[in-house]
Amino acid sequence: MTSAQTHTENGAQTDGKPVAHGADNGHLHKYGMVIDLDKCTGCGACMVACMSENNVPFRDDETDKLTSITWMRVYKLTNGKPYPDNDVCYLPRPCQHCEGHAGHSPCVSVCPATATDYSTETGIVSQIYTRCFGCRYCMAACPYHARYFNWWDPVWPDGMEKYLSPNVSPRMRGVVEKCNFCFQRYQLAKDKVYVDGESTVSEEAYQTACTQACPAGAITFGDLNNPEHLVHQLAQPDDHHHGHPRNPNAFRLLERLGTNTKVYYVSSREWVRRAGDNYLPDEQTGGGGH
């Protein structure tokens, strides 16, 4: 079943009832990201933009990267060749917002608390901190290490809590958190759509903090369902093959797990594309989508 059919099914439940009103009803978005790894310089602006947008806490020592909470993390890939043929590529990794099969992404399928959910309206995998009871099953299920556990209560040095954003709820000890494509920005954009009397959230009205900040313009964000959006044009997702990119330079991480992610990466370098999945030595890249 394709994602399009899933949407129809959900839409059908509303038959016979007055379809509600207002912003974006009837619009089934599939928000996604395309990251140009050739343009990414590894500067880390996306990570800081994310932290400052999303009230991400920090601790005295953040060098234990297993416990360091970074919704967006820039990984450094190397081609494994010895000096001087070594090559390096940076790979920013937000939550991949897996659609899986009909919205059953790895984490959503296992959450016993309904704390994480997949929305067919936006394609965003949500995380409700107050609902989470900290079993961390989702962290085990996520193949991308995109989820982080709050081992400690967040503490801001005296006075620094003043920069916290009211649009994002600060988390408490014992819950899991992760990238949500700056969903608060979608909420605010929708509010604006209501008062402006428009029909849908436009491409520029909803952009994530990392996309907006990236000084190299490496990140593109938008609705993969909308052919007018740049992400659609860059990734060229094939809806008949679970969104597999038709752009030959585009790939998704561990695509053959069937996670059907919504973060696409573009690289002109073959070794980088190979790094995105597990390949046999003689196997070619670009054959995913199943």
Binding site: N10, G11, A20, L28, Y118, I128, D191
Partner: protein, 234 residues
């Protein structure tokens, strides 16, 4: 109220049972009703505790800094509630007016009410925000969009806020000592029953209405087939 052991004794001593001691039986009877009385006492004591005492202990009562009359103000303004509680241009909701907004009309004392005098002297003159107690304040994890409800669903303010707009006086604010939220969220009926739509504003109440409304936004959750969490949470 007899134990298995006591019952087991009966067949062992039939004579005793037949010829036995009526006083003991009578004592049992009186003790039985007596025991039942204790049950009743316990039951009602607990029930009174739960229904009457508990709510009184659970909530602390606070009073608003100024006894504001909505009725009086609504009469004087042109656009009803939206004169002071409006949607901003960016789609967010202004909520309780700030001091600066109040000062638009109250640059000086306009009438002869005691409350206005307090307001002027304590807040306008000292340039202090009024620490209003907000009955409808939701937990931090809630994202409530006034725009979606007022503009999108064309709902009336009263559907959720009741007739506060017609009140002459602000009712005392009851704060839950455990959660810190207003009693209005759970509702004044301690059992959680409600008669009006505005009597309670817990998540289930939101959810009930969203279920009825239907639409994509209200059925987009893969987990629940209802509204996705991120519609109203942040």
């Amino acid at each position: 109220m007899s134990t298995v052991d006591e019952q087991a004794k009966v067949p062992d001593s039939p004579a005793g049972a037949e010829t036995g001691a009526p006083p003991a039986e009578a004592a049992d009877e009186s003790s039985g009703s007596f025991i039942f009385l204790f049950f009743i006492i316990g039951f009602f004591a607990a029930a009174i505790l739960g229904w009457v005492v508990f709510p009184k202990v659970l909530y602390s009562t606070q009073y608003q800094p100024i006894d504001f009359s909505h009725a009086e103000h609504v009469e004087m303004v042109d656009e009803g509630c939206e004169s002071c509680h409006y949607l901003r241009e960016d789609g967010s909701f202004s909520g309780v007016p700030t001091l600066a907004e109040c000062i638009d009309c109250h640059e000086e004392i306009n009438g002869d009410s005691e409350d206005e005098r307090i307001f002027y002297e304590e807040y306008v003159a000292k340039d202090r925000e009024v620490p209003w107690l907000v009955y409808s304040r939701q937990p931090d994890c809630v994202f409530f969009s006034h725009a979606a409800h007022i503009v999108g669903a064309e709902m009336e303010c009263a559907t959720c806020h009741g007739d506060i707009g017609e009140s002459d006086s602000l009712k005392p604010y009851q704060e839950n000592r455990i959660t810190g939220y207003s009693r209005d969220i759970w509702g004044y009926n301690i059992a959680g029953f409600k008669r009006n739509t505005w009597d309670r504003m817990k998540m289930d109440d939101c959810s009930d209405c969203h279920q009825e409304a239907g639409g994509v936004a209200h059925s987009s959750s893969v987990q629940t087939q209802r509204g996705a969490c991120f519609v109203c949470h942040k």
